[in-house]
Amino acid sequence: MAGITVALPKGKLLDGSLQLFQAMGSPSLAAAKTSRRLIFQEPEGGLRFILAKPNDVPIYVEYGAADMGIVGRDVLYESERDVYEPLSLGFGFCRLVVAGPPSMAAKDLRLCSSLRIATKYPRLARRHFLERGISVEVVPLTGSVEIAPAVGLADLIVDLVETGRTLRQNGLVEIEQVMVSEACLIVNRASHKLHFATISQIINQIASRTSAVRGMGQ
């Protein structure tokens, strides 16, 4: 495990990520929730962890600043970074959907000549519509996407839903699904090759753990 750095995402996926690595025997992470430190080093050449903003995890990993990381598949595909993604981790499930006011839900989107879409996922949103020949104007926002239709900023939004409650509270309905996301493990290409044995071992450990957890859930 010597010298391997793992980037963990702050925010929604942090709990699941910490649980995973703590269960695999990384006690240094016990303080991660409360401490303001951003780097945690296991003793005796064990793993090193860094806490990063979710959007930054693919960047750390693509450059090799971290050898591996955990990130939501939505964020990963939006980032278009060149990394390996050997494992889905079985937590952090959510869906990326197109949503809008009920009036929009009744329309055939393919017949709309101009749609404005507010989203935190401009690349995924654009690709979703353009691939089907629907021309859209994407309005990139960094938060509170749900209010965009109500204030006339956009016709539709592309955003994550877990329960659908936020959508309902803002008078929006789901129109179609863009993708299903869950936490996944990503690995730097060069690290995967240069530390093949070590990294394979970590991947296998995580795989057996996540499949055990999945087994219990069923």
């Binding site: 693509e62 450059y63 278009e80 060149d82 494992l87 690995v187 290409r189 090759k193 240069l194 093949f196």
Partner: protein, 437 residues
């Protein structure tokens, strides 16, 4: 007229500074290379040139732009999107070179058919790709590489791999490895599966991402039989030393995949003869690479750098698309990435001697200029003052630039070095070296 000008003066000045700022701007993905950095690159290029020539390769210089149609031959979807295309005045679509191998293939396929084989070419040139500048990618970057044309034997593959290893060593890198795979193995595994090209593309993409879960469910949904499914899902794990070749051999399911492994085994034996297997990792889980690769292919990685520094492979069908069929194999390394890897390894880059050693003051006259020529002939780097500065300013400048000697070639020759001044009668040319003493 005059009035309008004077009333606009303020605006004009603003406009001027804005224009200057625009002149300072650079397009994304290109860079200026200055001083020591430029010298370092040149030294690297010189070392590689000498190496390639020592192996019997001769230089080939291809055009910076060609007909887009030519550049597009053999390019995969990503490269097609990344080409810089433009129209000439006749309305013909041109493209900046995005890959040198394609141009070499054109030249060989159309002009060099009757030359005695094998042909060995090397190039060091800039190429252009419209990529997002990130993680080692730029829009203009330099490649040094070789092409060995006319042999389909494993000796040729091994020679190119060996030359890649030597290139990285000449560059000053240690702690690197080449991951050697064979696209024929994947093509063999998928050829009998009755999949459409786009379905094969999906399988390839999942293997490329090493996404085992997606690969498993994709193969299930495509209705792939159990044996083929097991082999394909095992691909990403086929990475290691010699034993991987045997393991892969037991997984081969048809003549084509078996042939690929046999070929890889032969190449590996020749690499053993070259004494280089310590740098080689067999890696059958890698299915990316240039679209035109047909056989063995490889990528080079250096400890501490998150992306590859070189890649290469066999391309037996590319030249045939321009003319007569000729098997070929080659590699290219990215000069910028190699330099970056050297930085990461804290290796001293090949020494960059850029500063002059001698500064000859102005008013040098015929005698002084002759002295400059003599010193240059003896290998000193001499600059002659062109700003008309006085002695003190010259000494300051020499200090800043690390120039060792400041020389005033008047009636008496004055040489300042480390603060001291040596004055002497005009010396004979042969005495020049005695400065050191």
């Amino acid at each position: 007229m005059t009035l309008r000008f004077s009333s606009n003066e303020g605006t004009l000045r603003v406009g001027h500074s804005k224009m200057k700022r625009q002149l300072a701007a650079l397009p994304l993905g290109v860079r200026d290379i200055l001083f020591a950095e430029a010298a370092r690159r040149t030294d690297l290029q010189t070392g590689l040139r000498r190496l390639f020539e020592g192996w019997g390769y001769s230089e080939i210089v291809t055009p910076t732009f060609e007909y887009a149609q030519t550049m597009e031959i053999g390019a995969g979807p990503a490269l097609l999107q990344e080409m810089y295309r433009f129209l000439d005045r006749e309305g013909q679509l041109l493209a900046l070179r995005s890959d040198i191998t394609t141009s070499v293939a054109r030249i060989v396929g159309t002009k060099l058919l009757d030359q005695p084989k094998p042909l060995r070419f090397y190039y060091i040139a800039n190429v252009f790709r419209h990529e997002e500048p990130q993680a080692g990618r730029q829009r203009e970057f330099y490649q040094a590489g070789v092409e060995l044309i006319g042999s389909e034997r494993p000796e040729a593959d091994a020679e190119v791999v060996a030359l890649t290893v030597r290139s990285l060593q000449v560059a000053g890198l240690n702690n690197f490895q080449l991951n050697l795979g064979h696209i024929g193995f994947f093509k063999g595994l998928t050829e009998d599966l009755a999949l459409s090209p786009s379905e094969v593309g999906l399988v390839r993409a999942a293997i490329d991402r090493k996404d085992a879960g997606a690969l498993r469910s994709l193969l299930l949904s495509l209705g792939i039989g159990e044996r083929e499914r097991r082999v394909l899902t095992e691909l990403p794990c086929l990475c290691g030393r010699r034993e991987i070749i045997e393991k892969a051999h037991s997984l081969a399911i048809n003549p084509r995949s078996e042939q690929a492994i046999k070929n890889l085994a032969e190449i590996y034996e020749y690499l053993d003869d070259h004494g280089l297997v310590e740098h080689i990792i067999i890696d059958l889980g890698e299915v990316r690479g240039m679209e035109y690769y047909t056989g063995m292919m490889f990528e080079g990685f250096v400890q501490g750098l998150g992306f590859s520094v070189c890649s290469g492979g066999r391309y037996d069908d590319l030249i045939g698309r321009f003319g007569q069929h000729a098997p070929a194999v080659g590699f290219a390394l990215g000069l910028e990435r190699v330099l970056l890897a050297l930085d990461k390894q804290n290796e001293k880059p090949p020494t960059a001697q850029v500063a002059s050693e001698v500064l000859l003051s102005n008013h040098a006259g015929q005698r002084g200029l002759a002295l400059a020529e003599t010193l240059r002939g003896k290998g000193y780097r001499v600059e002659v003052e062109v700003l008309g500065r006085a002695k003190d300013e010259l000494l300051t400048y020499a200090g800043q630039k690390g120039i060792k000697y400041v020389v005033q070639a008047g009636e008496v020759l004055k040489i300042w070095t480390s603060g001291r001044c040596i004055s002497r009668d005009w010396m004979e040319v042969g005495e020049v070296e005695q400065w050191q003493a």
